[in-house]
Symmetry: C2
Subunit: 422 residues, 2 copies
């Protein structure tokens, strides 16, 4: 089911050069989706005719770029169902800013992409394009799978635990979780306001960098360094590394050797206790807020909710304000500690998940290797290009200091290139 992914930078270049037109790219993309998505389950809704016509006529640097929006982002022209039976057919009045900003750059929102229920853990029926019996990861399941399937040249998602980086790793695409609050979460269904982070997917790192640069108006698409000379990269050894599967451990090593061969100095960084502690308070922090954010749904529509999200919300309702305040304090200390990691390192190289996408669609996998960086708010970029023994993709994450998003994207692009060469 996996097809050649759509390279956003190629589309932009080809349209600019007159080698193709937005209309042609979008028509071909919609045909491909029509033919294949019944089996894959990327989309919950497709753009109506009026929006297709508007998109085909759109101007701007992203004109002709087929873009998918996770179905927790409000869209004025398609329902927004949050993966929940409670919101079946729910039609927002306005676009979430990230969608509106993408459209203003010319992007075509070709559809809303499948999300786990409220971007929590109850899975979608979406399949992994690399093997339909494996999960694409979650919660941004449709966005990651849609890019991997060649349906989308760009997509947005959200990460509250590991919902951008993990599905990107499982689907073998580039995923970018920006510094906390770099992109507005306005018009996005809230799960945890301290953690929810808007992120992006594209085929490769330069594609996702250009996408984010154009949506934000920020210089995020720097030319990546030709090599890694002068860079110090930290191999961050965390308290949960014993969970790593051999495939991921091997990929981590391969990537480290590639970056070293490119001229970087590698250093070992042992996880400080304050950061292990921060990872551990993810659940009370997230769930206390989720129980408030979804108070109406949990108390009035409980029968329509899935078991996994209810388990998190019920836990959250049992967390006291004092426990929550303690968790916030631990997170704040963790954020400060994360900054000190970059005193001696330009970036960290860490696994994007425990291993490759697990077999079965019953679970979207584990966020253990992502949630610390969601708490600290550091920019993360999943670098695709390596594979497990069973052929499924495994990704590595480049992490940089808070606010150094352009550097994370540039170093990740350099690593991606090196892995492709090897």
């Amino acid at each position: 089911m996996s097809a050649a992914p759509l390279r956003l930078t190629d589309i932009v270049r080809d349209i600019e050069a007159g080698r193709t037109t937005p209309q042609a790219v979008l028509a071909a993309t919609n045909e491909r989706i029509d033919a294949g998505d019944g089996a894959l389950g990327v989309f919950t809704h497709r753009a109506p005719e009026t929006s297709r016509a508007e998109a085909a006529a759109a101007k701007g640097p992203l004109a002709g770029v087929p873009f998918g929006a996770k179905d927790v982002f409000d869209s004025f022209d398609m329902p927004t169902e949050h993966g929940s039976a409670i919101y079946r057919g729910h039609q927002p009045a306005a676009d979430a800013p990230v969608i509106a900003l993408a459209r203003a750059q010319g992007a075509a929102i070709v559809g809303k992409t499948a999300t786990t229920e409220f971007a929590s853990l109850d899975p979608t029926p979406t399949r992994n394009p690399h093997n339909p019996d494996h999960t694409p990861g979650g919660s941004s399941s449709g966005s990651a799978a849609g890019v991997a399937a060649g349906y989308l040249a760009g997509a947005c998602g959200t990460q509250t635990g590991g919902s951008v980086i993990r599905p990107a790793s499982f689907c073998g695409v580039a995923g970018y979780k920006p510094s906390f609050r770099l992109f507005p979460t306005v018009g996005v269904k809230t799960y945890s306001w301290s953690l929810d982070t808007v992120g992006f997917f594209a085929a490769t790192v330069p594609d996702v960098a250009l996408l984010a640069a154009l949506i934000s108006g920020r210089p995020l698409a720097d030319t990546p360094p030709a090599d890694a000379s002068g860079l110090t990269i930290g191999l961050y050894r965390s308290a949960v590394d014993d969970l790593l599967e051999p495939d991921m451990a091997a990929a981590w090593d391969t990537a480290a050797r590639a970056i070293e061969a490119a001229g970087a100095k590698l250093i070992e960084i042992a996880e400080p206790a304050s950061l292990s502690a921060a990872r551990e308070i993810h659940a009370p922090l997230q769930n206390f807020e989720a129980a408030q954010a979804l108070f109406h749904e949990r108390t009035r529509h409980r029968a329509l909710m899935g078991p996994k999200v209810l388990e998190q919300l019920d836990h959250g309702a049992s967390v006291t304000p004092e426990e929550y305040d303690d968790a916030r304090r631990t997170a704040r200390i963790g954020r400060k500690a994360a900054t000190t990691l970059f005193e001696n390192a330009d970036a960290l190289l860490v696994p994007s998940a425990i291993g490759a996408a697990p077999y079965s669609l019953g679970s979207t996998g584990d966020a253990m290797f992502n949630k610390l960086w969601t708490i600290t708010g550091n920019p993360c970029v999943n670098v695709p290009g390596l594979h497990a023994a069973n052929g499924l993709p495994v990704g590595l994450t480049i992490v940089t200091r808070f606010g150094r998003d352009a550097r994370a994207l540039a170093i990740a692009a350099m690593l991606e290139q090196r892995l492709a060469v090897d």
Copy 2:
């Protein structure tokens, strides 16, 4: 048009003691609103029959408490129009958490209260219950006026500049702007995610403290100190004090003398340059975010928007990411500086506005004395009880260290009591 305000603590006590019933309180309140609100303009929508029946049967400590929700809070049973023609009749699917949490404590949401357009500056037709030719302030115009008119025993609002404290001061009621993010802004129309703060109104400080304590499950309704002995109160002299009208300057002095007579030590605090600087970046910070938050509305429904909000959004669209980042940096430095103010003072006493409510409904007044504390996120409580020469209320604000909300409310309650005695 001003009536005896409804004391929330009295209602709770009287119902608990069996002296009245929720049904009786709510019936009397609805009759009062039916009779008077045509002239006053507090409400944009009133609760439908099904919700009235549910509220009359509700259990919980706030049963029988008539509560108003500013019309930027989503409500599942009434339209939520954000004061905007774009959202005429717009019906959300779920309650904003603050409304849901209030209902869960038994509160009756008797109506949605008038808000300036998108909680910005284009005024509502709401009148000040103390003099119908004067503004009630904004943007939480209906919530403040509804409490002052005796229609509501509690209400919620939002403050992005001065939209809780200023209308509370103009209407002579207690207003509480909590520490930033103490209450969720989920389900509340975003204007500026760095600034938007949920706040509350009630007749007196103990009323608003009890309301906030019950909604949050936090110990915010401490018994206020009998006097001010042992307390050090800072008279914070800011860079904008020359804007103060004589009535407010006199009220500030009266409140300072009252608190000194109660045993407090008064100290003078001169505004640090970093806090004057923080006040000055309010506009680029707010407007850059507002231009993103309302991107869809501004670009697709411009003709339906008011001139004042458009002026802010157009300004915001011209702020560059670099200027915005500079503003965020200045705000962060200001937040740290604000903490140091409390090394020698338990609380600050500052004016709640330039003066009393200005004549005319064409403007909701000026947020100059509030916006610094919105940026820093410190808890603020408007203390009512003093009046200008023309008889209109003027309020003073108690400010405490970030997170010390219970202390702000307790000191404010003590001051309120002293002012009532004088």
